[in-house]
């Protein structure tokens, strides 16, 4: 626990064709890091973002390495540390910031906050707070995808702690019985709020739960975006071909407290230090430099561009109005 020792090593063969992908990955990971930093470390502290703020610092390779593989007909059900999924799916940063600020520009127009957002036109289902509640929903999404015959796959995201919930079990059980096209993407960041893995489950890995559903399960280094990407390719191909669900356990670490108000004193400092060395963004940059897929200058420029994009997004969001209280009771029903 607390290390990546358990990870199955993947033979990765890096070729120059991967350079554009690397750039893409770096962009989305950096964008997510910057947007979340801004939200958590600036806007929240300034009181411009209220309520619960949960970030995926250190886990960016997971939504990016998987989300980039989504086809237009696929449906994504991100969890609360998967912000990059929204960017990849075409949601501009400004709308995400506005969402956190409770503005009309947010995906829920101020009705809900933080990552509690979705848009079926973009194929994104909103989480609710109750952990793993989207897992049974993903089964229904996949039933519909199969019924419509579009070849789409449902991407169901969750954390290690969420797998303790009955909803998780019921969702996975039904999908595996029906051999539905679902890819389960677990970010095993070793903690659920203050609860370490060994108080959450008796098995060593979330992947150990696969056989209970006769479902292939794979462990991958969740801080290596290429490893995630390649494993996700296998997982998605499996699901898309009609062979049923596939579980991908991405080992990672939550480099923050549970939420913006949590100092995470219950996490041994050494774990933060150890995992800081495995930062997915730094690792990708190093690889890009090593393979000469990018120069230091290009990378620096990308980081600067991302900062500017977030600057503009914050300005836009801050100019977006709060919802008008007269609209309070509108839209409880689709058909009044």
């Amino acid at each position: 626990m607390g290390t990546v020792e358990a990870i199955t090593p993947h033979e990765q063969t890096q070729t120059d064709e991967q350079a554009p992908l690397a750039h893409q990955c770096l962009y989305y990971m950096a964008l997510m890091r910057e947007a979340e930093d801004r939200i958590e470390r600036k806007l929240y502290r300034q009181g411009k973002v209220l309520g619960g703020v949960y970030v995926g610092r250190g886990q960016e390779a997971i939504p990016v390495g998987t989300g980039l593989l989504a086809q237009p007909q696929d449906i994504l059900l991100p969890s609360h540390r998967d912000m990059a999924v929204f960017f990849i799916r075409g949601v501009p940063v400004r709308r995400v910031i506005a969402q956190y600020m409770g503005r009309m520009g947010g995906l829920t127009r101020g009705r809900d906050g933080n990552m509690h957002m979705g848009d079926m036109r973009l194929g994104i289902v909103s989480i609710i707070s109750a952990l793993a509640a989207t897992v049974p929903v993903a089964s229904g999404v996949a039933l519909a995808l199969r019924y419509k015959g579009t070849g789409g796959v449902a991407f169901s995201y969750f954390g290690d702690g969420a797998t303790s919930r009955g909803a998780w079990h019921e969702g996975v059980n039904f999908a595996t019985v029906q051999k539905l096209p679902v890819v389960y993407i677990c970010n095993n960041n070793q903690y659920a709020y203050s609860t370490p893995l060994e108080l959450q489950m008796a098995c060593a890995n979330v992947a150990d739960r696969g056989p209970a559903y006769n479902m292939p399960a794979e462990i991958v280094d969740g801080n290596d975006v290429f490893a995630v990407y390649e494993a996700a390719q296998r997982a998605i191909a499996h699901a898309r071909s009609g062979r049923g669900p596939y579980l991908l356990e991405c080992k990672t670490f939550r480099m923050t407290g549970h939420s913006a108000h949590d100092a995470a004193e219950y996490v041994p400092q050494s774990l933060f230090e150890e995992w800081a060395k495995l930062d997915p963004i730094e690792r990708l940059e190093a690889k890009m430099l090593e393979h000469r897929w990018a120069t230091r200058e290009e990378i620096d420029r990308l980081r600067v561009d991302v900062v500017r994009e977030v600057d503009e997004a914050v300005a836009w969001a801050d100019a977006s109005p709060c919802p008008d209280p007269v609209t309070l009771t509108e839209g409880v029903y689709e058909t009044e």
Binding site: H116, M117, I128, P136, V137, L143, A144, Y147, A167, G171
Partner: protein, 325 residues
């Protein structure tokens, strides 16, 4: 005109016709396929529509409702069955937190129907007899339907399936085979959210729904012999609640008796009473009173269950008191 159609058969027909009409409608639940459902409401559908549209599930109420929601978000129109309404508490979070709040939060319609056979009188005991409608009536974003007649059951299930919001559809088990009615062969729906005056009267109003509509009508009939002219309002839909029809009736009769099979405290009578006092208090000539089950689990043994359930006699007694007030 389908002569003498049962309440159960009316629901079955309603679902069947909607499945014929719209390929996006499908059925999901435990034992709904080959077996045709614990009460046979989905009998024959598996053979006719196949396993893609009549989906047997593991024993997983949360899984069933969740799957319905997911399919609903994708534009399908799932009709999910709870084997007994008592088990709806196992899929509760999905209904009250997921389905109920989607549209308000992110504009996503969840056009699902959750069918739930409810009610006592079949010696089912504490876990096969409950009337859990109030868990849902208090949850904004849901619609709650409790039909009393075959005509309404068919028209309302069709309206519920066509509706774009999550509808909890309570089917009273004791009515399944007990009530019959001639219903039209032609396609029709009964709009959600509209109560119906099922008997006109001027001395007092009984507001009720579900199986108790029949007790209220019987009571009204009996008390007519004593000169009482009783109006009976069948709510049909509990949420959205048709307060206008209720209040119009109270304006006319000035006395109101609230009747439900559900237990007393926190039952539907409360919402009706406060809605009435808020709107038409000055019309009231007598206390608003209620006939309900007492605040206990539904007991199994027949003498206990009989004492537990409201019935025609209990309605007569209270209605007479109110009439004479």
């Amino acid at each position: 005109m389908a002569a003498g159609t049962t309440y159960l058969e009316a629901i079955r027909q309603g679902i069947w016709e909607e499945m014929e009409r719209d390929p996006d409608v499908f059925v999901i639940g435990e034992d709904v396929g080959v077996y045709g459902g614990a009460f046979k409401v989905t009998a024959g559908m598996f053979e006719h529509f196949g396993d893609r549209r009549v989906v047997d599930t593991p024993i997983s109420e949360e899984g069933i409702v969740g799957a319905a929601i997911g399919a609903g978000l994708m534009g399908l129109r799932p009709v999910a069955e709870m084997q007994f309404s008592d088990f709806i508490s196992c899929g509760f979070d999905q209904i009250v937190n997921f389905a109920a709040k989607c549209h308000y939060r992110w504009n996503a319609a969840v056009p699902i129907v959750v069918r739930a056979p409810s009610g006592g009188g079949i010696h089912g005991g504490p876990f096969h007899s409950q009337n859990p409608e109030m868990w849902f009536v208090r949850t904004p974003g849901l619609k709650v339907v409790c039909p009393a007649t075959p005509y309404d059951a068919k028209g309302l299930i069709k309206a519920a399936i066509r509706d774009n919001d999550p509808v909890i559809f309570f089917e009273h088990k004791a009515l399944y085979r007990r009530v019959k009615e001639d219903i039209p062969d032609e396609d029709y729906t009964v709009p959600l959210g509209r109560a119906k005056v099922v008997r006109e009267g001027k001395d007092l109003t009984i507001v009720t729904y579900g199986a108790m509509v029949w007790s209220a009508l019987e009571a009204a009939e009996k008390l007519a012999e004593e000169g009482a002219s009783i109006e009976v309002v069948d709510l049909r839909t509990l949420l959205p609640l048709d307060r206008d029809t209720v209040c119009d009736s109270v304006r006319k009769t000035s006395k109101v008796l609230l009747v439900h099979e559900d237990t007393r405290t926190g039952g539907m009578a409360g919402e009706l009473a406060v809605s009435i006092t808020e709107r038409v208090f000055e019309y009231l000539d007598a206390p608003i009173v209620r006939v309900t089950a007492p605040d206990t689990p539904v007991p199994f043994s027949p003498p206990l269950e009989e004492a537990f359930l409201p019935n025609t006699e209990k309605v007569i007694e209270k209605a007479r008191w109110l009439y004479r007030y």
